[in-house]
């Protein structure tokens, strides 16, 4: 969170290629959640961690310019609405709330509804968790620090 990053050259050089890889790993975790450990919660947190690492190394202001706070809090709301919206879709198709079998009105034995339902709600979880965690981090980091850097 420090503005003076002159003596952190090594950190910056190491972090720069690492941040896109962390973000990419978040999407790997997200879309392989069906086959391996992982899912929306973990992916959302890892995606938030990529931005938090950026803001720790390059300062909070560039991070807020790259990923604006207004974007993160709308992301949280959109994710939550997407999750709830899948349930409403199932309702409209004549099933129960969040009953993915009803999404495409498949014959018994088909798994398409389950696959797409899980994919969509995991996407909702990803957006909601990443947005919420980043909003929380921005709220803490955006406060004016009382302890000076020199005191450390």
């Amino acid at each position: 969170m420090s503005q003076k990053t002159d003596h952190h050259v090594i950190l910056r050089v190491v972090a720069k290629p690492l941040i896109p890889i962390i973000a990419l790993f978040a999407f790997y975790v997200q879309f392989h959640g069906d086959y391996s450990p992982g899912g929306g919660f973990q992916a959302g947190v890892i995606l938030a961690v990529a931005v938090i690492l950026y803001s720790l190394i390059f300062g909070i202001t560039p991070a807020m310019r790259a990923v604006p706070p207004v974007f993160t809090r709308s992301l949280a709301a959109i994710g939550f609405l997407l999750y709830g919206g899948v349930g409403v879709w199932a309702l409209l198709m004549g099933g129960n709330y969040l009953d993915y079998d009803a999404l495409f009105n498949e014959p018994p034995g088909g798994h398409d509804g389950q696959h797409y339902g899980i994919l969509l709600i995991e996407l909702g979880v990803l957006l909601a968790v990443a947005g919420s965690m980043l909003s929380i981090f921005y709220a803490f980091a955006g406060r004016v620090t009382e302890i000076k850097d020199e005191d450390w």
Binding site: D34, Y35, S36, P37, F41, V45, E106, P107, P108, G109, G110, H111, D112, H115, V129, S132, M133, I136, A139, F140, R143
Partner: protein, 179 residues
């Protein structure tokens, strides 16, 4: 006797960790240290649930080998497509097959032993909710620091008491100090 202790040693160790967290929560006056104690307490409860869900000789609850393939789970698309094709050709027949398969699975079980997935799911969400509540607690601590200038709970209590006494003296002039 030794076997009895070995079977329960894990639980006792986890209870020990839980009590260290509880002690930090009670004894510390610093509010951030208290929140750290609370998260130790929470983590040890999660450890307790997970050790209850473990099964000897079991593996992580991700289907593999025959368990994943024979039931059409492995590679979603083709398996689902073939299922759907079967179903359109002879829908009642396919439904009957599915029922039979379900009965078969219930009677002779799976190829591998998997540990119980239910506590994993509950604890996974508990961890995420735990960090959310930790964030709210920390936000309240930050506001307390701005209002009182300290985050030591005994100092905050003294300041509150002073304010209350001053207010009492203002409202009841001439009376003796209640403290």
């Amino acid at each position: 006797m030794l076997e009895f202790i070995l079977e329960r040693g894990n639980y006792w160790a986890i209870i020990g960790l839980m009590m260290i967290g509880l002690y930090t929560l009670f004894a510390a006056t610093n509010l951030i240290k208290r929140l750290v104690g609370l998260s130790i307490f929470q983590t040890s409860i999660i450890l307790f649930y997970i050790s209850l869900s473990r099964i000897d000789g079991g593996t992580a609850p991700i289907l593999y080998g025959k368990d994943a393939k024979s039931h059409g789970g492995g590679h979603g698309e083709e398996a689902a497509a073939s299922h759907a094709a079967d179903a359109t050709h002879a829908a009642p027949d396919a439904a009957q097959n599915a029922v039979d398969a379900a009965h078969g699975a219930a009677s002779h079980g799976m190829e591998h032993v998997y540990s119980n997935p239910l506590p994993h799911v509950l604890m996974l969400t508990a961890i995420v909710v735990g960090v959310a509540t930790l964030a709210v607690g920390l936000a309240i601590v930050v506001r307390i620091r701005e209002a009182y200038g300290t985050i030591e709970s005994d100092e905050i209590r003294e300041m509150d008491l002073d304010v209350a006494l001053a207010e009492y003296a203002e409202d009841h002039p001439g009376e003796a100090n209640p403290a």
